[in-house]
Amino acid sequence: MVQTANSRYALSIENLTVQFGGLLALQDVDIVVPPGSRYGILGPNGAGKTTLFNVISGFVKPTKGRVFLHDADISKKPPHKRVQYGLARTFQITTLFAELSVLENILMAALVQAGTSQVFWKPVHNDKVAVSIAESQLHDLGLMHLAGKAVNELAYGEQRLLEIAVALASNPSVLLLDEPTAGLSTAEIKAVVRLVTNLPKDLTIIMIEHDLDVIFDVSEYLSVLHGGQAIAHGPADEIRHDERVKEVYLGES
């Protein structure tokens, strides 16, 4: 029964509980994400949103519960193996390679996709396949002009875009974005929203977001987390008018 139910979803999370010492960061959370959807995760600070992403991507071992990507149970896979199942993510705190160029940052992901990340006998810049994957990624996102720059020369907004570009170069079917607009100016937020809305329709995107305008702009479905519990799920329009959600979250801001 579980198997057939899962095949309908790009991602499904069953009965997830994460305990850090005495703290219940997540408690019996169930989330299902239809393929190709734009799915928002909403919730106040400390609600457990990043922890949820860390469990999905394998960086945090859940106390209980399972994670399915498409049909596959990936609960036991280490983070680097989950990439092979089509998962990619960004981080709330930018974790780019500061000493490398923009192209090299993307190349790091592209090499894995080209299957040449093990090559040790020729310069990486001569890897035509990987370089062209990386370049076309930059090109598609309109970031080609940044290719030769070092990451520490980029504006913060550009770094957030690059963060997404790097994740996309892993050629994911499910993309997790952890607060991609946090700390950005209005203009920079617009750039991120434009980038995300223009992504291929068959890509499933799950986005943690603090900015309510952004989340209602981008997502079709929402889950609301509060104190480690998923207190509401549903289409964005319904969530907007859900009394409990207004109380615990929308009311606060």
């Binding site: 990619a88 500061a98 160029s101 090299e104 992901a109």
Partner: protein, 323 residues
């Protein structure tokens, strides 16, 4: 490609040394090349991957002991013995790496130190086999196209090995695997999220640096016709670690120059003073305070000039990594 040309060019220039140096100095430079090469290999581990070790002399010494023992105790041909020495070090590195790469920072430093001390203790205590404190004397050099028992002859063998190994390291460093080492040092979380097995990358860096140390450990044993416990000592590991720091993380040439220079300095000073460890410590402090980027930071970053110069060129265009 540029870095490879520099290596070959430097090798050609060094080839004149036998014509301008006395026997004593030529011998000193031969050893300097050996320790420079050792430090360059260590840069892959310490500089590229940021795994500071205090135990890599173990792989230098083990290869030397392996070679010397194979020749003197078992009568094996020196060339084959050299292969045995390198395989011994490589094998031990392969066995130890999975354990070592599970820990980081200070724990990694201490676990490598402890490992090095075990090999040192073994060589010191197992007197009947290793010669204990006396080491293994009278290790014959192998036969070759030219006479290796001649200082000049041995210098040229060393130079050829150094050029060859340096070229391999240079290409390796600019490859996908070399860049992944930089990625691991930058953010191993990000690297796992991109699909890299971080542990196995760290283990690879560890083993490659061990193999480089092993090759030079064999050369050093042949040069001295002797191997002793000093080759396994933590002091040698510390000296090599210092060479990478003083030379500049991840520049390859910096650690090479510093590794060579430190050896020459040590040899010159040891005649007049027993205070080498103190000199090392002082050098460390001075370099950290006044030259935090190491020797390599003195050359206005090759990287930046590279980007500048090659605007419009296809391959190096986007690189800060390509040299």
């Amino acid at each position: 490609m540029r870095r490879e040309k520099i290596i070959i060019g430097a090798g050609i220039v060094l080839a004149v040394l036998p014509f301008v140096l006395t026997e004593y100095w030529l011998g000193l430079f031969t050893q300097a090349l050996i320790f420079g090469g050792f430090a360059m290999g260590l840069d892959l581990l310490v500089g590229y991957t940021r795994m500071p070790t205090l135990g890599h002399a173990a792989f230098f010494g083990l290869a030397g002991y392996g070679t010397a023992l194979a020749i003197t105790r078992f009568g094996i041909n020196p060339w084959i013995a050299a292969g045995i020495g390198v395989l011994l070090s490589g094998g031990v590195a392969v066995a130890f790496a999975p354990l070592a790469v599970r820990v980081r920072g200070l724990t990694f430093l201490t676990i490598t130190l402890a490992f090095g001390q075990v090999t040192w203790g073994l060589a010191t205590r197992w007197t009947s086999f290793t010669g204990g404190e006396n080491g293994i004397p009278s290790v014959p050099r192998p036969d070759f196209i030219w006479d290796l028992n001649d200082r000049t002859g041995f210098f040229y063998l060393t130079l050829i090995v150094v050029i060859f190994v340096s070229l391999l390291i240079s290409i390796f460093a600019s490859s996908a695997v070399g860049m992944s080492f930089m990625g691991v040092r930058g953010s191993d979380t990000r690297m796992s999220a991109l699909g890299y097995n971080v542990q196995s990358r760290r283990a690879t860096a560890f083993i490659v640096a061990a193999l480089v140390a092993a090759v030079y450990g064999v050369l050093s044993t042949f040069f001295n016709k002797f191997v002793g416990t000093g080759s396994l000592s933590w002091q040698l590991s510390a000296q090599m670690l210092l060479a990478v720091v003083v030379g500049g993380f991840g520049s390859l040439w910096g650690p090479f120059v510093a590794g060579s220079g430190l050896h020459i300095l040590k040899t010159l000073l040891i005649g007049s003073t027993q205070r080498w460890p103190m000199v090392l410590g002082l050098l460390y402090v001075i370099s950290v305070v006044f030259l935090p980027g190491g020797l390599s930071s003195l050359v206005p970053t090759i990287k930046q000039r590279m980007i500048h110069r090659s605007k419009g060129k296809e391959h190096a265009r986007y690189g800060t990594n390509s040299k």
